[in-house]
Subunit: 416 residues, 2 copies
């Protein structure tokens, strides 16, 4: 199947934002075995959007639009597609109810324009928006498939992953359905992983093997087309087994779940608890874990000790470790060890993670940007510390250090 | 002048890289008064690149291509443009000399294919590449202007800034440049904001007024075309003032900065410090603030108190507030007040934020999902608490509550 991505938004044409949506959808389509031949960006303009649809229809079987589903006057995508295909705009009542109840719950009056976000087209399928209000649209018209997704990346990604891909897999073209398997890796970078699998990737035909990195994790998606799930499994299994043989110690999940979700599940199953002491990650480990629903049943909390004073007074790290000419300093194996041990005791949990390091851009204690120490304390066992060196921006170093800490804990949980 | 950007490269269509070149060129064109109506991405494929050029020629006066100028077989851009315009490829001798001497200096043999990078078209102007080997091309043919730039951003930017803009300025059509102003709002949603500005948005002509939402914040962009910055300011100022009159208490910046950046700047300027006690935001406030470089100079740290036990033992919130038949509970005005006050005392900061609430999906203490209490403690003043109700997924409720807490602090900082 040939596809084209049309991103709608004047802010893209003015260069105010970068088109990460096109990148994300291209990655996902590649992994699904859908060929993207063109990406287009067009402004919030009726005539030009129509022109872009017309051009795309001549060269693609599937057109995925992002943006222009919001409540404001310049959100035109649904109106333009309706006119372009000769469909009517109709109300998707469950989405309207959701919008109404959102306003009611917050004690706000609903502006009339908000109802526009619940519109869909006659003969179309709605795509639910679990991160926002605007409902998406999937439509097949005169042999061309159209999918309208919202512009905000957080809404777009969840809608595409949750509802868009399953709609795509139902598109009957007589060639069977697409079956995918996600292999999720931690504790290894994209290029190191690719190197391990290079011969497989170069020789790939069916299934396809698509590695990609996002959010500090690496994913390999295996995709095949098959008439039945059984047939798909028989094609996917040998490839998965070979990858598992090479990289098994980094493979933490075979579903698209972040590592913090897997850790939550394993702790919950064993009735065990976790806490954290964060310096350079600044609360990110806690934020990642508490993004998992019900994480309060395994995660007690954390101390974000961004200054030495907090490390001393709240975490009770000995002052002699932190300051003085002979002290190893806050960014050291010794401090990471003390932080993990102390926070585990203070919060009374079974496990505790600690991170101390330099996220940059400036260096500290005469140590280089990207140097990070990660501690793992466990009740009744000696605390272990690993040293890591990460590159990238401040935010990327924070993320890589946080994910590395979670990988350290995940490894420990597999030992039992 | 109407322009289109064509980025050439299969790696873009596979989502392996994000199209920052299109963003950069769009920004630069906007500043030069050139309207970008479309951006296109096409792979390293002769037929489809030709098709993209043909489409662009029908709708643009200027076509800027990036990518495909390198030495390898799939670098086709110059060949395709030559065939498309009926020009010949000719050698640009100074560029060839540069390539030869680069190889000589490094003691390497030059592969024949490297000479391809020195090619230009008959009747074209060369654009020097001061950061690499491939020479750029500028050409006017049958009323359409073409510019071919290299794909690596470092080479592309320097070539465009140094040589491309002066070539373009010779095509000037005397309509002046575009000037934009960004207004950033917090504590208000996109549709509520738009409602307040509806008459202005509907009547907009010059400047244009464009609101959009991302990551829990709302931005309004004002844009006008003018011959000088002074003229632009005289057109932008009255509109900005009217918006400021209506929504001034939500307007936290006139640059594209997140609210945590502004808070950091204001605290830093005053030599003041901040801490946080986070329950339902789970470390997100800390993560946002510590994403700002140098935030350690104003942010001491936080206590993520995800369980009542941590609220009691570490934060010292009185047990009588948290549990018991008569207690207000952890999700209450009283608990938010105690959390903010206690963490400020414990960490010895000037300000402290606290958040307690229900991010969902399950409810707690018989209270609804989305109910959040936000506390703000300040040295020497009584602690204040506001109640909020947020909708969306668990992650979105966390984000909205975190941004609302930052907005509360920002408001307080403006009072001084």
């Amino acid at each position: 199947m040939k596809a084209e991505i049309i991103a709608v938004g004047t802010e893209l044409l003015l260069g105010q934002i970068v088109n990460t949506n096109a990148q994300y959808l291209s990655q996902q389509c590649a992994a699904l075995g859908i060929d993207i031949y063109f990406q287009t960006v067009v402004g919030d303009n009726e005539g030009r959007l129509r022109q872009a649809l017309d051009t795309a229809r001549q060269r693609a079987d599937l057109i995925i639009c992002t943006g222009g589903l919001g409540p404001t006057k310049d959100d035109l995508t649904k109106d333009v597609l309706a006119a372009f295909t000769g469909k009517e705009l109709i109300m998707h009542e469950p989405s309207l109810d959701k919008i109404k109840s959102m306003f009611r719950d917050r004690g706000l009056a609903m502006a009339e324009s908000n109802a526009r976000q619940a519109l869909m087209l006659t003969d179309s399928d709605p795509l639910m928006n679990d991160n926002g209000l605007a409902v998406g649209v999937a439509l097949t018209h005169e042999g061309t498939h159209y999918m309208l997704l919202p512009g905000p990346p957080r809404e777009m990604k969840l809608m595409f992953d949750t509802y868009g891909t399953s709609w795509l897999s139902r598109l009957a073209d007589g060639r069977g359905a697409l079956y995918s398997r996600m292999l999720k890796f931690a504790g290894i970078g994209e290029s190191a992983l690719e190197k391990e699998l290079l011969d497989l990737i170069e020789a790939q035909q069916d299934p396809t093997i698509a590695p990609y990195a996002k959010e500090g994790e690496v994913t390999v998606r295996l995709t095949t087309r098959a008439a039945t799930e059984e047939e798909a499994n028989s094609k996917l299994k040998p490839v998965e087994e070979e990858i598992r043989r090479r990289l098994g110690k980094h493979l933490y999940a075979t579903k698209d779940k972040p590592i913090e979700q897997i850790i939550y599940e394993q702790l919950k199953e064993r009735g065990m608890t976790l806490s954290a002491a964060e310096s350079c990650t600044g609360g990110l480990i806690s934020d990642l874990i508490t993004s998992v629903p019900d994480s309060s049943s395994v995660f007690s909390g954390s101390i974000v000790s961004y200054t030495n004073a907090v490390k001393e007074t709240i975490l009770q790290v000995p002052a002699g470790l932190l300051e003085g000419p002979e002290a190893p300093g806050a960014i050291s194996k010794e401090s990471a060890e003390a932080m993990a041990g102390k926070v585990r005791e203070l919060l009374g949990t079974d496990y505790a993670l600690s991170v101390t390091g330099i996220a940059g851009p400036g260096s500290a204690e005469g140590k280089p940007v990207g140097l990070v120490y990660i501690g793992l304390a466990e009740r009744g066992k000696p605390t272990t510390v690993v040293e890591g060196r990460y590159s990238g921006t401040r935010e990327l170093i924070k993320l890589r250090a946080a994910k590395a800490a979670l990988y350290l804990l995940w490894q420990r949980l597999q030992e039992r």
